[in-house]
Amino acid sequence: MDKTILIIGNGNCAQRIAENLLVQGVNVIIASKDQHFEFALSSAAKRQTWGSIEILTPTSVLACYGFIGLFDILFQSAREKIRRNASIIIIAEDYELKPNFDLYDLNPSVYVWSLSQINESVNGLQHLKKNLPIGSKIAFLTGLIKESNAVIQENVMRTALRLQLDLELQTYIFTGNLKVSGKGLEALSRELKKAGAVISKFTKNIPQIIQNRDGSISITYLDEVTLQHFILIPDITVVDETIYPSNYLPHLADVFGLETDLLGFLQADNVHRIQTHTNRKGILAAGPSKAVQSIADHLSDADGAAQTAIEFLRGSFFQTRYTAEINTGMCVRCLTCLRLCPHHAISFGAKLGVILEACEGCGLCAAECPATAISQQHLQDNIINQNFLNRPKQIDPASPSIVAFCCGRSAVPCAELARCMRHKLPQGLFIVEVPCACSISIEYILTAFTNLAEGVLVLTCHEGNCYSEKGILFANNRTNQVLDFFEQTTSSGKRIEMHTIASNMGTEFFEIVNQFEKMLIDMGPLH
């Protein structure tokens, strides 16, 4: 495998990733859309550099082809198009800070500043020192209308402390919840109070903030501790900021086919993506491109991303058991698989094919292919044919035969945990392990019924916890389709149920299967 890793970004996190990789003898390409590129390797990294480094700037990514181990990336630089190969891609583009003037309905003026503005040493702090008499009042508005976070509020508290101690100004912090969930922040908040800052917290009645015609501010508020009303006319009001993903990220998400979270960061809100994984094998999102987090966490991500990249290079992740295969003779090129694959593992050329390196084996393509041209041999041969169809079949009305299609990531370990906890599971329960609930085709469900199952359970991960993101959606749809089919053809009741479950819910598993068994016994035999 080519040992080059592409890093997209131009900040502390990107720099640390590059250092980590170079030190381990890995070649690195850094691509930044910024013209000015400030990249200084620490002396330690320079001394030990085994890997080579290439810097492409200013460039933006135009397109990306290929897959893990062999990505083929097209860049647009100022003059020309550039093409490079890389095994792994790590995105660590810095995020953006935007002041919340609109949120508080304020206009920036000499009286109203943003947090970043005040922190600028020349125009901010020096200016204040020269122009504000000792004891002048500075009010900070943070997390009042929208919740803030510890990253922003650490900045607020550090700024206030400096104003309070170095410039001898009187600071006031108006907030909803004081965010201290970071190392040293509780101690910082106490230091700040000790220095004389006033921290007022508001639960229901948030302060009334009025901007006068000349741009000055008056803040009227009810102090929740003393229940007294106050009016404050600050000399300067500082508005906090919100962290947004870089405006480059939507483009990168589009080019690389990456899922995003609600805010637009390049990692879906899914615990399987911890620490820096995305929906695509071999493309990682780190630090400020991944989520709102502290600088320490960005650096931690830089270590995590570099480590994962090296693991990938070593081939530790090419072990998917269930990879799918397309029978080109049967394929009608409807492109359903290409459209649905959550991991971008379908190659689209003269003929459609599964990219084994990228395939995570979820089985969605095989289950959805209208021409039944896609198979997952391991699942079909070893689990369905040998294991499931050959299962002992007894018809006993007291313990009806239940086939539970269980996601291998959640419901299977969960069943094992239930046994460990010594919950008594139904005797007629037969578990079919599937790689993801999205691989449970209608055909498999119907096969279960034609093979003497009295009832079928489809047990899948919770929404937002599916390794392939959409497993639950497809499992739900197919369960409903089979239910509809039953309603139209027989009157034998609801013999199929879908439930969501996690790997550590042994007791819940027991409750689900036992209730289902009871229901089947009440219904009477189907066969």
Binding site: N20, Q24, G25, Q48, E147, S148, A150, N177, L178, K179, V180, S181, G182, K183, G184, L185, E186, A187, R190, K201, T203, K204, E224, D261, L263, D269, V271, H272, I274, Q275, V292, A296, D297, L299, S300, D301, D303, G304, A306, Q307, I310, E311, R314, S316, P413, C420, M421, R422, C461, H462, E463, G464, T500, A502, S503, N504, G506, T507, E508, E511
Partner: protein, 413 residues
């Protein structure tokens, strides 16, 4: 990638994640855990999903443990302590492993021993399918250990997997690097005026997690009935100047509010009140989560002064109601204390053994903090260096792995 051997002290999320990271880089890893079961505190946690996953990370612990169990590069010694360390070019570590009373290769988890043991608490059960063996002997309670008066379990075990008079084993391990992942000590709330350990219906958030994992619903400990009113009290042992605990434990707002919503989704008739100082931001969707929780849970910005028990084992909680400026007395059926994350006493031992340095709060420095690199080859992961969530812990383990990888690369030249 250079070869090397790494010893990890502690088999919780941090130790397990670090072990996996190192093994995937091709290194040989040895985990030592003083307790009987791997997985630390977090393996006891309940899934907090309601209609959808709320990203508590508890299932990730299960998955990490599974991957460690299946990885041939990782060796695990449970019930093992570090006795002594000497350092020359590499570390020479002397370990002592408790007798293997229950043979994990023979035990089939039938539970016969557990059912027949006459001494409650002498046999303890694991928390995960991947705990091997799943049942362990708790020496302090076992009658055989006390006076050799009972060996029922050994006699009845159908697999002859139990051997009560085994010997402890001494081992020596040579390692190029050490990762200290000794975790945290949950704050002991007995010193607080909340009647913990005297009033049966005052429990900790960790006990509540375990209860939900075991029973799937909340039951009042004193009589196993469904409580009508539950109070959560936050910051018990955190953000407390009297204790000199000048830190936020970082995870309790998330954990308690997720638990509260889980309970509301399963037992909607239960009324939940939440006593807090500040609600900390967590998750990618905090704004929506916080709005939803305010509809389901009564939020009270005050930490109660004290708790009294009524005759019927209910609890009178006294708190200051800021909105009305009066002290309120309110009766609850159950109270859950969100106890803080405090430095583990194991850290003091690590200070002696490895010259580990602690910061002013009593936690170790993290592997990402540069001051820390004063003892080459010794790194920390997880809550040994301060409060963290499961996700943060996994991230901190990757920092320790990176530090080890760099060190070994340097050594190799």
């Amino acid at each position: 990638m250079a070869d090397g051997k790494v010893l990890i002290i502690g088999g919780g999320v941090a130790g397990l994640s670090a072990a996996l990271g190192l093994a995937r880089l091709g290194l040989e890893v040895q985990i030592v855990e003083k307790k009987s079961f791997l997985g630390g505190h977090a393996i006891r946690f309940s899934c907090k999903a309601t209609d959808r996953c709320v990203k508590c990370g508890a299932c990730r612990v299960e998955e990490t443990l599974k991957n460690v169990t299946n990885n041939p590069k990782i060796k695990v010694w449970t019930e093992t302590r570090v006795i002594n360390v000497s350092k020359a070019n590499t570390f020479t570590i002397h370990l002592s492993k408790r007798p293997e009373y229950i043979n994990p290769r023979k035990c089939t988890r039938c539970g016969a021993c557990f059912d027949q043991c006459p001494e409650s608490g002498a046999l303890i059960q694991g928390h995960s399918n991947y705990n091997f063996p799943f049942i362990a002997i708790y020496e302090e309670k076992c009658r055989f250990m006390r006076d050799r008066s009972c060996c029922i379990c050994q006699e009845i075990c159908p697999e002859a997997a139990i051997q009560l008079d085994g010997n402890s084993q001494q081992k020596v391990y040579l390692a190029d690097a050490i990762i200290i992942a000794t975790g945290f000590q949950p704050f002991n709330p007995e010193s607080k005026p909340y009647g913990y350990n005297s009033f049966p219906n005052v429990i900790t958030n960790l006990q509540l997690e375990e209860m939900l994992k075991r029973e799937s619903i909340v039951l009042r400990p004193s009589d196993n009935t469904i409580p009508k009113k539950i109070a959560f009290i936050q910051c018990v042992g955190s953000r407390d100047a009297k204790l000199n605990h000048l830190w936020c434990s970082k995870v309790c707002c998330a954990s308690a509010l997720r638990l509260a919503r889980l309970i509301k989704s399963r037992q909607p008739e239960i009324e939940i009140s939440f006593f807090y100082i500040d609600v900390q931001t967590f998750g990618r969707d905090f704004q929506a989560f916080y709005a939803a929780v305010q509809n389901e849970v009564r939020m009270i910005r005050n930490i109660p002064g004290d708790i009294y028990q009524t005759e019927d084992k209910r609890l009178q909680v006294n708190f200051y109601d800021a909105a009305l400026a009066v002290t309120q007395e309110e009766i609850f059926d159950m109270v859950a204390l969100s106890i803080g994350i405090t430095p583990s006493s194991e850290l003091n031992k690590m200070v002696e053994l490895f010259e580990l340095r602690l910061d002013e709060t009593g936690f170790a420095f993290g592997s990402g903090e540069t001051q820390w690199f004063s003892v080459p080859g010794v790194y920390t992961a997880g809550t040994a260096s301060g409060p963290m969530s499961i996700a943060d812990t996994i991230a901190s383990a990757s920092q320790a792995v990176t530090a080890v990888a760099k060190l070994l690369r340097q050594k190799a030249g």
